[in-house]
Amino acid sequence: MPLVKNATTIADPFVHLADDAELPLDGAVLVSAARFLQDPEALIGRNSPLGVIWPNNRPVDDLVPYLDRLAVVALVYPSFRDGRAHSQARLLRERHGYRGELRATGQILRDQFVFLLRNGFDAFEVKKDADAAAFAATAKRYSVFYQPSSDGRLSAWQRRLQARHSESAS
């Protein structure tokens, strides 16, 4: 499954570690929430980047104490129709100030890219190669947005108010 980051397909630097697989001494690993919560300190204490795959039915609050020590949080879309992880993403970014990699996994198709980006994701495990290849073009599909959100782009309201200010200033 291609991993898209910074609009290009890259090799995944993280090893997906099965719950019963032995923990390697070093190297970046991605573990399940269950495995992580069994002994978070031991995993974090390793001197290599750590990522956690967080299920969409578990409040992200449980993850908050560890956020600044995680390199990746991967949120899950079991189906593209199931939008729970969209809320988790915004909460992690906007409420809890998470700055590491936020990765979308599961059924990720190109038509979700814009939504995912807007919710603060910056890495995407895309199902189809063609969709991964189309990332850059798809991400630029919209140039205006009504809502304020996490991707740093101005909302329509902000733009309108700015336009008003510059009008009245001139």
Binding site: F80, G83, V114, A130, R141, F145, Y146, S149
Partner: protein, 550 residues
């Protein structure tokens, strides 16, 4: 009218381009139907029995004459020359080819119309009182807030994949014409004791398999906080709404299962966390939207012009005036309802020719504005009273002056088994037969009486809240219909009560006649409405009458 700016225009053009690409990928076999289905649904495209159906949004039920002309154009160019106005201020085209849809959308985009989120598990078209801005006694025009909501919900990145569809309705009047109590979120504009404008917020209303009347979750949310509060509701729903069973996925079930108190606590907690964030609407933002609504330059006119007095001698005109013309907040003007329920016709359908003609009449008599109501009728919202006689003649010529508004023949009906792939039974022929059974004279004798018909439990025809509700069911491959009475959709909303076993297709109109006869015999005074008589008497006497001989 709300005037689109460059941002609004850019957004819908980008949406059209995106959909064009999605359709191309589907036709080329690059995405499966399963993947495409969700994409097309988010753009109002269903697959019905005979063809694709295309649902176009008419936000808060306001259309300009140019927009209506464009809808006529789409009906003519891409469909079979007519459209169907729905109970949620949308219009549906029944015969459109998938390959033509991107072009149809591009044509509509020229006049600022779109089909975004008219289906799918997202926030749907924001509906409002169809007389918003012209009804006497409003606190303010609720469409300003409806437009704010429309923008906030359009392509919302977090809430476009909810457990199930999500519907908002807004009113600013005490008399609820927007059916806010049967919506997922109902908003009633009001002022608190300090004179601050805000909303009473209702949640968890909805029809379908398990009907619920919406409950007040918060009696007052100031306008500045309304988006934050709505976001809190949506976020709680997105995370906790059931996704395991399509029939239990609406917010009404979550509210019911958690209990209103617990649900409210969750929302309050989230609302507190959101706090004074970027969704807080400061006055400048509200003013920004308000400033782009334009209002007619009304003239100073008499409420009793000579033209009106003269024309009232004509009984045809007098009947229409009494039935279809309502008071306007501006002296000398009136709101005119255009009945899309002529005898023997499918409720809510209008031909391209009618749409064009109505658009021209709107330009001539109503400052170029048309309204669409959830009862599947249209309205011209700003008609000078002195123009009423001329307008009446013109409307009569195109078949939209039947004086039956709010009467027994002003039936709400969903498309039913003639079109809909989910239907159990037909709705339209039942409605047609009923309009033939009751002459306009009888209908006036009966007085206000709403019949609502749905072809299946999904309740698009709002049968639960019809004074008489008719629901199509299937028994051994035959069409049967359950009859409820006593439902209503307004500020006193209640779900109707089933009167007994379902009756076969051929007997439905007879049953309705029996119910009406029972009512006429039992009412205390001629002005005791059917709905009030049912409330006073309960269903028993009606049930007895209907089933005594069956």
């Amino acid at each position: 009218m709300y005037a689109y700016d460059e941002i609004d225009r850019t957004l819908i053009n980008e949406r059209v381009a995106e959909f064009r690409d999605q359709v191309q990928r589907r036709l080329a076999g690059e995405i499966t139907e399963d993947e495409f289905k969700m994409l097309r649904l988010m753009n109002g495209v269903y697959l019905q029995l005979h063809a694709y159906m295309f649902r176009v949004a008419i936000p808060y039920g306001t259309l300009s004459a140019d927009q209506l002309r464009k809808l006529a154009h789409v009906a003519r160019k891409y469909d079979r020359g007519y459209g169907h106005f729905t109970t949620r201020q949308n219009i549906q085209f029944n015969w459109i080819a998938l390959a033509d849809l991107p072009d149809a959308l591009a044509d509509l985009a020229e006049v600022g119309i779109h089909a975004m989120q008219t289906s799918g598990n997202c926030t749907r078209n924001i509906t409002a009182d169809q007389w918003a801005g012209v009804a006497p006694g409003e606190i303010e025009d609720p469409r300003i807030w409806a437009e704010i909501m429309r923008q906030y919900t359009t392509l919302h990145p977090e809430f476009s994949f909810l457990p199930r569809k999500f519907k908002f309705a807004i009113t600013a009047s005490d008399h609820d014409r927007a059916a806010i109590k049967i919506h997922d979120i109902g908003l009633r504009l009001r002022q608190n004791d300090a004179g601050v404008t805000g909303f009473e917020v209702l949640v968890g209303g909805g029809l379908g398999r398990t009907p619920f009347i919406g409950k007040v979750i918060k009696p007052f949310v100031p306008g500045r906080d309304i988006l934050s509060y709505v976001e809190a509701i949506l976020r709680v729903y997105n995370q906790y709404g059931r996704r395991d069973n399509i029939y239990k996925a609406r917010i009404k079930i979550l509210v019911h299962e958690l209990g209103l108190e617990k649900f409210r606590d969750e929302v309050e907690e989230e609302f507190l966390q959101i706090g004074d964030g970027p969704l807080t609407l400061d006055d400048a933002m509200i003013e920004e939207i308000r400033s782009r609504f334009t209002y007619p330059a009304y003239a100073k006119l008499s409420d009793n012009p000579e033209e009106l007095t003269k024309a009232s001698a004509d009984p045809g005109f007098a009947a229409w005036l009494a039935n279809s013309v309502a008071p306007h907040k501006q002296q000398g003007y009136a709101i005119v309802t255009l009945s899309l329920k002529p005898v023997g016709a499918p409720p809510g359908d209008a031909t391209a020719e009618q749409m064009d003609a109505i658009a021209d009449l709107a330009d001539r008599y109503s400052f170029g504005e048309i309204r669409v109501g959830h009862e599947q009728n249209l309205a011209l919202p700003h008609v000078a009273k002195r123009d009423l006689p001329a307008l009446w003649q013109a409307l009569d010529r195109i078949g939209v002056a039947t004086p039956n508004v709010n009467l027994i023949t002003d039936i709400i009906a969903c498309p039913g088994l003639d079109y809909c792939s989910l239907a159990n039974a037909r709705s339209i022929p039942i409605a047609q037969e009923l309009t033939r059974r009751f002459s306009n004279e009888t209908a006036n004798l009966i007085g206000r009486l709403h019949i609502n018909i749905s072809g299946c439990i999904n309740a698009c025809g709002h049968h639960h809240v019809g004074h008489i509700g008719i629901l199509g069911v299937e028994k051994n491959d035959e069409e049967f219909y359950q009859i409820t009475i006593g439902g209503r959709a307004d500020e006193g909303a209640v779900v109707g009560t089933l009167i007994g076993p379902a009756v076969p297709y051929d007997d439905v109109a007879n049953v309705v006649e029996d119910i009406v006869e029972a009512y006429l015999a039992l009412r205390q005074r001629p002005d005791e409405l059917f709905i009030d008589a049912v409330k006073r008497l309960g269903v028993e006497p009606f049930k007895e009458r209907v089933y005594a001989t069956r």
